[in-house]
Symmetry: D2
Subunit: 353 residues, 4 copies
């Protein structure tokens, strides 16, 4: 059994990983760490886990991080993982980080991201020597590299939906690379467990609010990834909106077609691109992705069609932000890193209704 | 006192008008008509109105429509108003119709719309001789014509949000007219009072679902109106989504700028365009329109900004679909038609929280 | 015009009063005070009020409170109003307080309440000499005294629903006074504007949570009021629950009947008790109170029936907690205090759907 | 592998069983039947199951029911199961029925239920000879009999919450048996997949509505079961309410104590009663059951306390109505019938947040 440690176990991101590992046949959760609220069972913070995980949360001290375990998952905000990566990776322990710390291959790309992210404020990377050894965790694009990786940067939730939605078209070169618009809709859980005015129930309920208009930090990794696929610079305007759901991200992407294509042609292109993928479902023509078809699962549903009158591609992609957008894709990446079946522990059907 | 009649009083659209007229000092509701569920007080269908409107709903027979009243509001589906317009208008009675029947000035434009709308199925207009005499009910654009009108086609709810969001930019010629993308989010009440699988609570709650992708009928009137403002053909890809709120429409519109403009310049352009408008609020720079700031009111909040890196205009416009998107704009139009102060009976603040 | 001042203008309770007074023909809002967030227009805190109330919020200093106004509304937590009451009332200014400070006629009763309330922690009343001069603001019970009052203690939101639901039965002596159970359901706005874990959207949505089980502080004023009506001690078990709505309180009250009564008899008793009341609607037999029929209005809907097999009275009462449970009943009380028509500024219909 | 057939596979109840059996290691779903919508894959009705269950739904004809299978689950409305039970049970096939058809041991008790249920309208039982051979499916009470059963009547969702909440107190004789009040709160999914005005999103959202006040059919089985445990007749007033959640039932039960007991004593009594139960969690003193702690799981959370001032027991019990209230308890019953580990396929943690 692989021994796993979660740093940041008392947030939604850590919780998602705990729940998945409780049901994983090859990985055992041996250590739960957090900065605050330590010394009590995890089920004190998450009463639904009473009887499932009453393990005590310990202090996330440097002396505990990465010790006596085979795998560390940093379910922490930006800049925590990078402070410990040298030690963890140096000890030969596999490491996956939820934040933006290890999503980029170069200091320059990281810097562009850091300038965009409100909480990093442009500070330089604290562990630049590991950039290049890290792998960005989109299994559908980087599967073979993930199988060799010891340090994975888990993708941003919106980035997963954008990239999986646009990759086939961008890779095939059918879309004008500077014409892309992505309109994102996300539930409230993406903002985490900490209460805030924006997610206070009376303000959030019956509300739709745009935020970080054309300035969301996940745009950086999406643009970088898509530019790599396209072989030319991609320009992308992204506006995220919070909608009154707990879970889920739905991205509607628009791009001008370089040459006329029918919906059927685009649909075929997508089917082919994702053939055999265990967690991407390209929907039949005329069906469109919706949140409830993926919530609770590691699936990404994708539907692609064409507005023929305007020569425009429309792609709708939907994920559960806490699963395929966070803990689920993390476990998928971990399964690849550790040589397990990619779907192990991720077989659950979406929750419906 | 003006005597008003509502045809279709037992739907959400009719209800909205009833509620507004109950508080209107110059218009008296003298007749409530419907096709089904007649012979009972309106408060039997809408228990919240018990004590406010216990007037009996009568059969919407041709003998009753337009008789002994000064104003008829058709809060009815497509093709009902057109069947009675000749008689009503011929009798010198003012008429406002909620449906698409009188939104277009020519048979040809109506036909384009009718082909798009699922429930009209391309049937020809039943009262073509009145097309041309009708006025399309966007007060911010057609105020002076509405003051002379006797037959008003109330706009589609999505069309209101799209048109008010894009009119300033399109009129000023700053946006590439064929580059426009509108991503719409609407609450459930827009679909009316009749239960359906899509709006069944367990399916709608926690869900976001795109529908009529690039084929929504309101696109026709928006394109036609904006093309008129632009003086050239406008191309527009519109994808509406249902989000789990009862009320509200928020449209996020994207367009490529013809020449570089700053957010401040665009903001000034919008401020100027809507200066003095009683129901359009151009938000300060850095603030963005949100549903909860307009729900329950006749307001349209508009925020305009620029994604400078990609040379793209972003406009966010928000309305209450049952108010500025339906009954509210209808009363605003009626006030204009009848010579009352435009804001009469529409002064209410949004409901918050 | 009466000049009114609101202390605590930036919370939900103050906001409710602002919105009502904006539409009140006889009262002018001349002063908005708060402890924090001062120096900015109210619409900075509540963007929906942009253009309706851009008045600047001033510091709630003792030098400002009650000065140059005819009426002060304390929309403040417990123990703020009592600290200023001597000064305000002494200056001949009318005063209404939202908190528990002036709901009780004696020091002893206040003390019982204070021991129950988490935020008062049993501290003694700071202005005991005014107890006795104050009137508890339930217009349906104390209308004539409210007309003479200069100091009104606005009731707790749950207390309004409990008292209006049970008063007719308790007054008539048909219920065993120690058999009463009240099961309360409330929306999230009752907890105020400040974010907290319990009202964080991802925790609140799809959740129902009991709280302050058999220990809610509103029980004290309900028991005291009902005991007064009964002429004997009333015993009442009250369990409140938060449900995922923004607004609304629905209380389901149960009591053993002293003697067999039919639903029709109980219904008649309720009809008679509330005959002529402008804001209490006793629903027809077979209809039951529901939140959506009252939200946004100052109404209390009441339905009373009998479980004949078990000899038990069942009463369901519903209010909007921010209206009839707070700002609405406050204005009703103020109208009485100031000699205006009781319904002035409160005529609005519920918001539906 | 046990071969299972679901009759009524296209409703929420059938769906719940499909999802559980997809993950069950010992039971294989070999046949999906329904009355309408046949001939298409199940994933056409439930798009979230695309790729998980694309099995074609067949016509629920008598020739198919119970044929070539070892187990039939009737996820059907009342009176369907009883029409086929003779044939199924006669062929030696294990049968579980979701409806009220086989919840009662005698014709008389069934009749009392049937008179109460709107859809059965008092019609006599169609298969009375099997009454007595059936077992009522509450594993915590009837485990040993369920191990021998071939015909199980799955309990009503509200009955599960009521019975598990009250059984310990009633069995121990600490509560006055005729003093019980149960106030129920349920999500919308309990009403099934068919759209209706009450569950139309704009009517359901932001609403709380009581229904079947003191007349809900599940009361009959709860009273009958609790009377059996008490050894004397139990009287119970039950008022269910719909709250705006998709899933979940929370029942708050009140009863007068026969003799003074502390919260600690009651808590101990409950702990002891449910010691070792895999799916009932008695919460620590001071913690109260809430929907989100059980949704998506087969758990029933129970919290018991005492209102000492009024000598009243308060018990709060919470379940997922589609799991412990329907498909989950059904599988628990089936595991017992078929000799599998009781928890097989039911180990999943609740979904949170």
């Amino acid at each position: 059994m692989v021994r796993a440690q979660i740093v940041g176990a008392t947030g939604y991101g850590g919780l998602g990983m705990v729940e998945l590992l409780l049901h994983h046949p090859e990985i055992k959760l041996t250590s739960l760490l957090a900065r605050t609220d330590v010394g009590k069972p995890l089920s004190d913070f998450f009463p639904h886990l009473r009887g499932f995980c009453d393990q005590v949360v310990e202090d996330a001290s440097p002396e505990r991080i990465g010790v006596d375990v085979d795998l560390v998952i940093f379910a922490t905000p930006d800049r925590v993982g990078m402070a410990h990566a040298r030690q963890v990776v140096g000890a030969g322990v596999a490491m996956l980080d939820y934040s933006g710390d290890f999503r980029f291959p170069t200091v320059e790309q990281y810097q562009e991201y850091a300038l965009r992210h409100p909480s990093t404020a442009g500070r330089p990377h604290a562990c630049p020597e590991l950039l290049g050894a890290n792998v960005y965790g989109i299994p559908e694009l980087y599967r073979s590299r993930l199988r060799e990786a010891r340090l994975v940067g888990n993708p941003g939730c919106f980035a997963v939906a954008m990239i999986l939605g646009l990759a086939p078209a961008v890779k095939a070169g059918v879309a004008e690379p500077r014409s892309i618009v992505v309109d994102g809709k996300t539930g409230s859980s993406g903002a985490g467990k900490k209460p805030s005015p924006v997610h206070h129930f009376p303000e959030r309920n019956e509300n739709v609010t745009p935020y970080r208009v054309a300035s969301h930090q996940h745009t950086v990794e999406a643009v970088s990834t898509l530019s790599g696929l396209a072989g030319e610079p991609v320009g992308l305007t992204f506006v995220p909106h919070v909608v009154p759901t707990t879970r889920g991200i739905l991205c509607t992407s628009y791009a001008t077609l370089r040459r006329p294509l029918s919906s059927a042609q685009v649909h075929d292109l997508y089917r082919e691109f994702y053939a055999g993928e265990p967690f991407v479902r390209v929907l039949p023509m005329g069906s469109f992705a919706a949140l409830k078809s993926v919530q609770g699962s590691n699936l990404c549903d994708v539907s692609a069609t064409v507005d023929e009158a305007n020569g425009r591609l429309i792609v709708i992609s939907a994920i559960d932000n806490l699963m395929k957008g966070q803990a689920g894709v993390a476990l998928q990446n971990i399964n690849l890193m550790l040589g397990f079946a990619e779907t192990l522990g991720l077989e659950r059907t979406p929750v419906y209704p």
